[in-house]
Symmetry: C2
Subunit: 246 residues, 2 copies
């Protein structure tokens, strides 16, 4: 039995999120488990670093699974890629220590959200960008983002109203970059609540559109009320880029 | 009545090619004509610079159409983009002289074919690249390409066995570029036969894989027989980039 660590990329468009659900065939976890179970001839459980929502993409999702197999790391990678659908790719497989756990051992994550601000429709990128009808004021967004940095109770930015565990998280980087027709918002933190990045993006866009002021952000945080923050930006613009481990 | 010249980009994946066909709903020409007919309230015919095959993409297809409309150029563009599906975009609309004809006045075209030679599956580009299982010898491909340059009877490179008109064409540029995980083949000529670029690419790939020699190309041309050339590279890697007019 060995513990394998996988780097997984996927186009989330067709999937109902990462996490396996009863009677839902199209989940990333479900597809990975099914291929590994066929490969090993036994039931395999796959642990992901996080649960991406339906329609959210990943370039650097990390997963682990205990498998009984004589195949080498690259042979496992190639086997999985052969039998997984075109929109899921195993970028890398490495044997890890038994104590490695993709979720519990994760110390940070980087997400990137991509908005499209060009004049003409993004035909070839249309499934990976959120098309904005109005260009936001990027400087105002950056001012607003500063107030989100650090450790806060992000309850106002949590999409799950029934969340019972701590909603305190630390966000230590929000980079907003405008390049050609694209506006990207990269967020790094020690962990994220459900929909948290998408609500941060929606709130910063409302700041950029003048619907909210940058200096409203501290009040939004203090409210601890989802209704105080902005809208939830659509899933298709979001991509999990990287997961950190010590 | 004005003659409008349109620059059109499309993801060809879902379409049965550019050209309208009886009882086939999903064609680029059909979609363009239907939107312009609704806009003007009369039947509009759209003329394209060329007929791309099913699955072939375009970034710079040129079309023209005579329309009766008070809308400005940009208003026509925006109207069309609003009602066209996500995978067709009107990049530009300009009024042209009455004598402008997108097909008859075209003096040259540039196509780009993209192959993927990376180790891991191209999740986000999978509909726009042809994944090669074996990396070809690019120098050999370039040697082979030299023999294709100039005016030739390209009958061996024509996918239509019933072609009755001249099969003489002039190819004046074939650029083969290897960059990261991508191998692109750009071809410029005064015009192209059905499947011609895809057969050129298939033949050059066979040269790159050692299945054919660069110096076999003159014999392949001389044979004037489709069976002498290589395979037809799949449609999804091909994109019409630019159409020239004097």
């Amino acid at each position: 039995m060995k513990n394998i660590k996988m780097v997984v990329a996927y186009d989330g468009s067709r999937f109902h999120g990462f996490e396996k659900q009863p009677n839902v065939e199209m989940t990333i976890q479900g597809k990975l488990e099914s291929v590994l179970s066929i490969m090993t001839g036994t039931t395999v459980e796959v642990i992901g670093a996080g649960r991406t929502d339906a329609g959210v993409h990943a370039r650097g999702m990390i997963c682990n699974a205990f498998v009984e197999s004589d195949l080498s790391e690259n042979e496992i990678r190639d086997y999985m890629n052969k039998y997984l659908p075109d929109d899921i790719c195993i970028c890398d497989v490495k044997e890890a220590a038994d104590r490695f756990h993709a979720r519990y051992k994760a110390t940070g994550k980087t997400y990137m959200y991509t908005c499209y601000i060009g004049d003409i429709k993004p035909v070839f990128n249309r499934k990976y960008v959120y098309v904005l009808n109005r260009k936001p004021d990027v400087e105002k967004m950056r001012e607003g983002a500063k107030f989100l940095m650090g450790s806060h109770d992000f309850k106002s930015f949590c999409g799950n109203p029934k969340m019972k565990k701590s909603t305190v998280r630390c966000v230590d980087k929000i980079d907003i970059v405008c390049k050609g027709s694209y506006l990207t918002i990269s967020v790094h933190g020690d962990g994220f609540l459900q929909n948290m990045v998408r609500i941060i993006v929606g709130t910063l866009l409302e700041v950029g559109w003048g619907k909210k002021k940058p200096e409203d952000i501290p009040d939004i945080i203090d409210a601890q009320d989802r209704n105080a923050a902005g809208f939830t930006a659509p899933a298709l613009g979001l991509c999990l880029m990287k997961v950190d481990y010590n």
